[in-house]
Symmetry: C2
Subunit: 346 residues, 2 copies
Amino acid sequence: MPDSGIRLSPATLPFAVTTPSSSSSGPASGEQRLLERLLAGDKGALARLISWAENADRRYPALMRALQPRLGQAWRIGVTGPPGAGKSTLVNELTRELRKHDRKVGVLAVDPSSPFTGGALLGDRIRMEERTIDAGVYIRSMASRGSHGGIARAAVDACDAIDAAGYAEAILETVGVGQAEYDVVTAADTVLVVLCPGAGDGIQAMKAGILEVADVLVVNKSDLPGAERLVLDLEEAVHIRATGGARRTDDEWSAPVVMCSAGTARGLDLVLAQIERHREWLSQGRLESMRAAKRLAHVRRVAHERLDEELFAVRGWEARARTELAAGKAPWDVVEGLLGSILDRG
Amino acid sequence: MPDSGIRLSPATLPFAVTTPSSSSSGPASGEQRLLERLLAGDKGALARLISWAENADRRYPALMRALQPRLGQAWRIGVTGPPGAGKSTLVNELTRELRKHDRKVGVLAVDPSSPFTGGALLGDRIRMEERTIDAGVYIRSMASRGSHGGIARAAVDACDAIDAAGYAEAILETVGVGQAEYDVVTAADTVLVVLCPGAGDGIQAMKAGILEVADVLVVNKSDLPGAERLVLDLEEAVHIRATGGARRTDDEWSAPVVMCSAGTARGLDLVLAQIERHREWLSQGRLESMRAAKRLAHVRRVAHERLDEELFAVRGWEARARTELAAGKAPWDVVEGLLGSILDRG
């Protein structure tokens, strides 16, 4: 394997990196080998790095420090919408289409609702298996690990790993439309909201709010009755938003509405054309400030997870909180007491 | 108005409480008057206190410190399930039923998905208007305020306010089934998961996971075809979980499956009977440890929000992170640098 020229720098993190591989190996460590494999296009190496991201393993930041200069090449496409809208099929077909243009595609299927749904998403992914044989496609499912799971934090870190590994497109697909899904898809550069006709009142009610997050509105299952009606409704809603809101400036993007039928692979070129148009629009001097804001949001997410770990576990805040709560202290007062121990109150 | 005998203690929080009312009034402050009104059953006072909780206004902890000894009287009922299962109607009818037994009921309808749905939930609530004329019923909708919104934090604080105000039942209803909804309903003492027949594959797929969170499984719309089939499927799934899992102990609660038709008010007595049975089961020495664990989870939520505010806003972490990110530093390294400024790394 050719040498990438990228070297893992010595750990400068203020905590010791104690992992089986780093403690038992020399300079040509397991992590350095993984780095070389990742850069050579080895999907197993990418899978390992993403697992480290999911588990907040300290080897993740150690590798990403070396890979940081490679970030920002992948275009990040968020795909969301209500259950049953055909998101998985659309992502599958978009991937196939992108491969025709020889673009390497990484897909993250994120399921923040997994405390409820168990392995539902993994079942959906079986349909995508055919694509995984292709060396230019990487597919990964991620599920939440519980209430402190930080699924958006893990998803964005995984997306960074896909970016660093040299994929041209990183697709972030979410199931459902809740807060955690919102956090995930808004980390993307271009957000597709996928709807389909005849899915009932819930989706109609959702339309007003969904415009806020959509860069491209996709009406999937265009062969179903009501598709054109839904397109017109959405276009009207976009128009009202474009002309009625005081907050709107001339510089704002107006989300186009595109019809497609992912099941029969019709209209996918139109979807891709709108993604490309949004990309060009962002690239006219808007991309860097948008990405800077999203990176800052990510720093906050990482900080939340690290602070929880350092303070509640390492620093013993958990035991202290238990004792004070048992003594009848109010939760906010417990927190202020804990905060006082790390913050200088001048 | 009679004096409650409960006094606001002087602010012992290490930050100054600077609000228009506290700075302009003496010992008989606006907050003390609000406290008296709250304890006299004034819904406007409760609404104000909940707004403070939502906005993380410092008057909220100041009041709750005084009210802390009154907490723990309300039974907290979480209600969740997929859109269209009839949760709002069920909550409406359960409230009506509880009122027949002269129980005061507070309802919090929490919509963490509001970044997408806008005001959908508020529309649903119109159906509940009739109940709000009743002095023994308080109804409140809460929506998320964005990605750092901490909707579960706000919902639990609001629930504490309802508890302190003397309501016998606090119903936490959520829309949808994502991570944020999971955080909200698992703060309750008894969790109802509401399903209905014929709602498609998504719900079938959800069943396995949903058992983890349900204390009572409610099959609503029992007059629809497929209701009995759904009951049998759920009972089988509960049975498999009860007998197949290695993690299960004899002391575990097995979720009963109840049929009802909230629209025609049939079967509500059965739902209430199962809530009561779960309450009795918890009260046999299990309640305190369960609630202690949930209070600790809440302290963590409050801490996350306060740490974000104190560190990123007050301490200037936001500006520092922006600068370091712009210089190409990796997010995890930015965070470790920031953590180092508050943590003693021995």
